[in-house]
């Protein structure tokens, strides 16, 4: 991705209900954010203030949490999430070449989304499926024992 995809206008009418689910619950910030992200695919900027108010925190504190954890996104994601494992086992079995192949095929880099919002690419520390190394995940499906030449065939399925 060469340019940032423009953030689409989103309807936040469900936000109130989501926040309501967590009313009065202790230590609810992270589950609440996870729920918001389930709904919208990312944490819209407009959601920060209402969430902060519900959690009794400053927006800066909420923003701090959102940016601390790698699984919270502040921009919309592609319809398909590609996660390339960068764990040790994958590394010694050529995981870096897999990542390079995906980056080359899609023209985006780790953390980016294609302009057509078809794919988002991220790397994860370890998918815990080291016996498949080198491995990548497409949404909830695993693709293991990859070689760079097979990457394209995987991408084409989605």
């Amino acid at each position: 991705m060469k340019e940032t995809p423009t953030t689409p206008e989103i309807a936040l009418d469900k936000l109130g209900a989501i926040i309501g689910e967590f009313k009065g619950r202790k230590w609810a910030l992270i589950p609440m954010l996870q729920r918001v992200q389930d709904e919208y695919g990312y944490i819209p900027e407009q959601a920060i203030e209402p969430v902060a108010e519900a959690a009794g925190l400053f927006p800066s504190q909420v923003y701090g949490v959102v940016t601390f954890y790698s699984q919270f996104y502040t921009a919309p994601r592609g319809r398909n999430l590609i996660r390339v494992c960068r764990g040790t086992a994958c590394h010694v079995r050529g995981g870096r070449k897999i990542l390079q192949a995906v980056e080359r095929e899609l023209g985006i880099r780790d953390g980016e989304t294609t302009t057509d919002f078809k794919y988002s690419l991220e790397t994860v520390a370890c998918l815990g499926t080291c016996f498949l190394a080198p491995v990548m995940m497409m949404n909830r499906l695993y693709f293991g024992r990859l070689v760079p030449q097979k990457v394209n065939a995987v991408l084409k399925q989605f």
């Binding site: 959690a55 790698s70 764990g87 086992a89 590394h91 998918l127 815990g128």
Partner: protein, 1040 residues
């Protein structure tokens, strides 16, 4: 389901379930966790379909279980009764499995595990070495029960431990039992679990919490995932016992969001336990309340650190805080909190059920019980392994793990992920427990074992881990935040070939500071991979910094393609292979000759280290690089009649080379390329050195050698035969007579003696390998008897045995004191010898040569066993006393090694020698202490391989060129890449790569071979060469 109000109701419920767990019931157990990635879903659906179709629902149970452990063979299934293990199952196999095995009790051979070496098939899971060498206690239910069924868990004594604790033990007694069991935290630090529980119970306050740390973040560790997915109730039960013991009413499981199946199964398990009243209020009527909440992580490695994890549960940024106070005193909400790892909790129930003594029977003095390891990386049997603590690393990696794939060499195993260290080959026999691992700079950690082979670069591994910890460092404390960045910067520049002298010391200094001054475990342990790779692989760091070389061929900035980088002379392999694919064979041969003047020789006998590194090997088979080289060279000699032009002479200096072996001729050839006039002085009437006088005709025909020597001579190298350099005419004389420099490459001419009783020179029937082969090659036809014994394990030993058979021996036996694994010969040579009838006696060492009236009549041999590895990682053979036995032989050939013969140097020579009676030279420039005299090859290093000999000659030529130009910079044999456009596209440039095996080079049959000295291998046909060349992935093109 009805709530169980008492322990008696639970027991009744269990009895009612017993029928379902009848071991004689027909049942198919399918891994539906890890194996999903290989189509376990489809296999399960096929089973469900088949059961429906054959109306077997009442008779056969299809059980969807957790991980069986043998992930390398996914999808795997097990069939009861009989515990039959099938691997690589596909939906198409299912009707046959149901019909033949489930209903008929018959085994389907093709699905059965076969030993990769012997081919022996073992249908029963318990007989498969991977399972046989394990002790599965914690994983007992994994792969046996459906993790979504609380009934199956209860039926296998599930929740009996908490029932027993509630009914029979006080909380203090529970803590006492856990303390006595010796259980230590399985998350990594190994803190005694019972002590932690005691501290939490003793802490002041009414509210206490239990936390299960399921944030398994160490790359390479996946045992917690398997337990959570395969046996989630065991974790809940462990938490229940802990809660009862410390007096907690509420608990949390903090689980990685990256583990969706674990999250799902845990959620189901919690709901089921609540429904049965095993979680909630007044559990089993004992007045004990406990509830569990699931918290999903959000992707931060540091949250595996306990204080950071607590912050994260509370909804903040997961940043650690200083300890003390420890969570046991002040944790969640500042209340006493006991945090244990998943595997620790899963250990608890067996302690309560079977007693602490029983538990402590396994393990070492300081570390009790079993430990689960996740075996990954460059190992055949990747998967989950549970063994008693204290077994050796070798047992885990080689007996259970099945060793290293593709016959490559083991280099090290990383223990404990980014917090741990590597364990090199020389420590493979060490017991794996918390304390011994620490003594060599590694840690048990959570049990991740990532195996690395010769193709893994240890500097890159250190960089990989530091780049991981650097990006996961939370940034709260400066030593970790800044230190990881600095270490990463230094490591990155080293892997990019921009390292500086002193960088390694600098790294060690930063590492030390980060270790001592960081706030939490992440920072305190993250320098470990750096320190341990420096400790064990300092030479790799130095090679990157000084010579910009990566022995593993994996550091991208230094490597154009791994094959080229690994070739000691740096031949542009991808381009010559592409020339072959294009049909431009002459250009292929010429390209090889830019680095190596002997393509036809190396195309036959090179040990081809390039092929070990070939990336195509990761997909199917490595390219047959050696055979392709031979094809190009043979084509050249068969089709190009006119001799090549001499290299133009552009320099005024004249250089002399002593010895016309591969080293000397390579040096002379490269000097001629550089424009010098060169004369080679050879003592014998033939050139080629060892190639001409020692390598048998059937491996390397004389005509092939002669072609290449003629080629070198035609390029302008003068060879003077029968001109020994000795006391009458010394190297100094050459300098005095106007040579600007002299290179000595005199090889190794002297056979080494063993020094055993009876080894008497002149004994009839006692021969030395080298002179034996020399006599044969020069047509002297030495006599051998009927039964020939050869002592040694190298090329010379094998060549001598095969030659003896060709000379009419009825039997040839090779006696070698180590095992096949340590033998420095290629598989092809070994197998060719076996085919021809050579018999190998490994771990057998001669102790005496027996003779009768000056005739050899046999050998006395002793059996050996492999002991501790030496510094190089080769295990030292140790004799087994009392196993001496005679072997009747009429000829004994000693081939235990060669050494340089320095006797031609005059006694008053100023040339400095080492204490091994070799010349002392600078390893980079090959310069001796006498200005203008250089020496290299086997003559300096002892016997190596032909390509290393050629490389030494090339290095000598480059060094002499620099010397004559007064250039003081280091000599480098650099990889260079030509931009050549090829017509034919190779596999690497196509969209996808279909798997395709390499063709075997044709050979003549073994029976025919041993009747003559005709060349055994006949090489590729043109069609084969064209096809084979197209399999190249062109790794070099990735760097533009």
């Amino acid at each position: 389901m009805k709530k169980l109000k008492t322990a008696a109701e639970l027991a009744r419920f269990r009895r009612s379930l017993a029928r379902g767990e009848d071991p004689d019931k027909k049942r198919v157990r399918i891994c539906m966790t890890g194996c999903r990635a290989y189509g376990a879903h489809e296999v399960t659906a096929a089973f469900d379909e088949e059961i429906k179709r054959k109306k077997l629902a009442g008779e056969v149970e299809i059980r969807k279980t957790g991980c069986h452990g043998f992930c390398a063979r996914a999808p795997v299934i097990a069939i009861d009764p009989g515990d039959v293990f099938y691997q690589y199952v596909s939906p198409g196999d299912v009707p046959e499995i149901v019909g033949k095995t489930v209903l008929g009790g018959k085994i389907i051979e093709r699905l059965v595990y076969a030993d990769p070496e012997t081919g022996r098939k073992t249908p029963r899971a318990g007989d498969v070495p991977f399972f046989k060498n394990q002790v599965r206690r914690v994983l007992a239910n994994c792969g046996r029960i459906d993790p979504k069924s609380i009934e199956q868990y209860v039926a296998r004594d599930g929740y009996a431990a908490i029932a027993k604790a509630l009914a029979e033990q006080s909380p203090e007694e529970v803590i006492g039992a856990v303390e006595k069991s010796g259980l230590r935290g399985r998350g990594g630090a190994g803190f005694p679990t019972g002590v932690k529980w005691k501290f939490t119970r003793q802490a002041k306050g009414d509210t206490r919490y239990i936390v299960c740390n399921a944030d398994e973040g160490d790359p390479g560790a996946f045992m917690d995932r398997a337990i959570l997915e395969g046996d989630p109730h065991a974790v809940l039960e462990g938490m229940l016992v802990a809660a009862y013991a410390i007096g907690a009413r509420h608990g949390f499981i903090y689980v990685r969001a990256e583990y969706p199946i674990a999250v799902e199964h845990l959620g189901i398990a919690i709901a089921q336990a609540e429904e049965l009243g095993l979680l909630g209020e007044n559990i089993l009527g004992a007045g004990f309340d406990f509830s569990v909440e699931l918290k999903q992580g959000a992707g931060a490695f540091v949250c595996g650190e306990e204080t950071a994890l607590l912050q994260s549960i509370e909804g903040s940024r997961g940043m650690p805080r200083p300890r003390p106070p420890f969570p046991a005193q002040s944790g969640l909400d500042r209340k006493p909190t006991c945090i244990n790892n998943v595997e620790t909790f899963a250990n608890v129930r067996s302690i309560i059920l079977n007693g602490a003594e029983r538990y402590a029977e396994l393990g070492t003095a300081g570390s009790k019980g079993t430990k689960i390891f996740s075996l990954a990386g460059k190992v055949n049997n990747t998967g989950l392994v549970e063994v008693p603590i204290g077994v050796s690393m070798r047992k885990v990696i080689f007996d259970v793990g099945g060793g290293i794939p593709k016959g490559r060499k083991f280099k090290a195993v990383q223990m404990g992920g980014p917090s741990g260290g590597c364990v090199p080959a020389r420590h493979l026999d060490m017991a794996v427990d918390y304390d011994t691992l620490q003594s060599i700079g590694a840690i048990m950690g959570s049990g991740g074992m990532v195996v690395m082979d010769e193709n893994t670069c240890m500097v890159d591994i250190a960089r990989f881990f530091v780049s991981f910890t650097q990006s996961e460092s939370c940034g709260k404390c400066a030593p970790c935040r800044i230190g990881t960045k600095q270490m990463l910067a230094v490591l990155t520049r080293i892997t990019q070939g921009q390292g500086r002298e002193g960088d390694v010391e600098k790294l060690a200094r930063i590492a030390d500071t980060v270790k001592k001054a960081s706030l939490c475990g992440l920072g305190q342990t993250c320098p470990n991979p750096v320190l341990s790779t420096i400790r064990f692989f300092r030479d790799e760091y130095d090679a990157h910094i000084r010579d910009r070389r990566c022995a593993a061929g994996s550091c991208e900035a230094l490597v154009i393609s791994a094959c080229q980088h690994t070739c000691p002379v740096g031949i542009d392999v991808p381009n010559y292979i592409a020339f072959i694919a294009d049909g431009r064979y002459r250009e292929a041969a010429d390209l090889i000759r830019e680095r190596n003047p002997f393509p036809a020789i190396c195309g036959r006998i090179c040990h081809h280290p390039c092929e070990v590194k070939c990336r195509r090997g990761e997909l199917d088979d490595p390219l047959a690089i050696r055979a392709l080289k031979r094809f190009a060279a043979d084509w050249y000699f068969n089709n190009v009649a006119e001799p090549p032009e001499p290299f133009p002479v552009t320099r005024t200096e004249r250089v002399a080379v002593v010895g016309a072996g591969p080293t000397g001729l390579s040096c002379a050839y490269h000097l001629a390329r550089l424009g010098y006039r060169v004369t080679v002085f050879e003592a014998l009437p033939v050139a080629g050195g060892m190639l001409s006088v020692a390598i048998p005709e059937y491996r390397l025909p004389s005509a092939v050698i002669q072609n290449e020597i003629n080629y070198v001579a035609a390029r302008g190298v003068e060879i003077r035969y029968n001109t020994p350099i000795n006391a009458n005419f010394t190297a100094d004389d050459l300098l005095r007579e106007g040579c600007a420099a002299v290179f000595i490459g005199a090889g190794t001419q002297r056979s080494q003696r063993i020094g055993i009783p009876g080894e008497i020179e002149g004994l009839d029937g006692l021969l030395y390998g080298l002179s034996f082969l020399r006599d044969v090659k020069t047509g002297k036809k030495p006599k051998v008897g009927q039964r020939v014994g050869v002592i040694g394990g190298g090329n010379t030993a094998i060549d001598a045995s095969r030659t003896a058979l060709r000379l009419g021996a009825k039997k040839a036996d090779v006696f070698y004191r180590r095992s096949r694994e340590e033998m420095p010969v290629s598989d092809v040579e070994y197998e060719d010898a076996l085919e021809e009838g050579v018999e190998f006696h490994f771990l057998t060492s001669p102790t005496r040569v027996l003779n009768e009236r000056w005739r050899v009549k046999g050998l006395e041999c002793i059996k050996m066993k492999l002991g501790e590895p030496d510094a190089g990682g080769r295990r030292r053979p140790v004799p087994i006393p009392g196993t001496e036995a005679p072997v009747a032989l009429d000829t004994v050939i000693l081939a235990v090694g060669q050494a340089p013969d320095l006797s031609f140097l005059p006694a008053d020579s100023k040339l400095e020698r080492t204490r091994w009676e070799t010349l002392d030279v600078d390893p980079n420039t090959l310069a001796t202490n006498v200005e203008g005299i250089f020496a290299g090859g086997d003559f300096v290093t002892g016997p190596t391989t032909v390509i290393h000999a050629i490389a030494a000659g090339m290095r000598g030529a480059l060094a002499i060129d620099k010397f004559l130009k007064r250039d003081k910079s280091r000599v480098e044999i650099r990889d260079e890449k030509k931009d050549i456009t090829h017509e034919v596209k190779l596999a690497g440039e196509e969209e996808t790569a279909e798997e395709k095996q390499r063709p075997a080079a044709a050979k003549i049959g073994a029976a025919k071979r041993i009747s003559s000295f005709a060349e055994v291998e006949t090489g590729f046909t043109e069609q084969q060469a064209l096809e084979e060349a197209k399999r190249c992935l062109r790794c070099d093109l990735e760097r533009r």
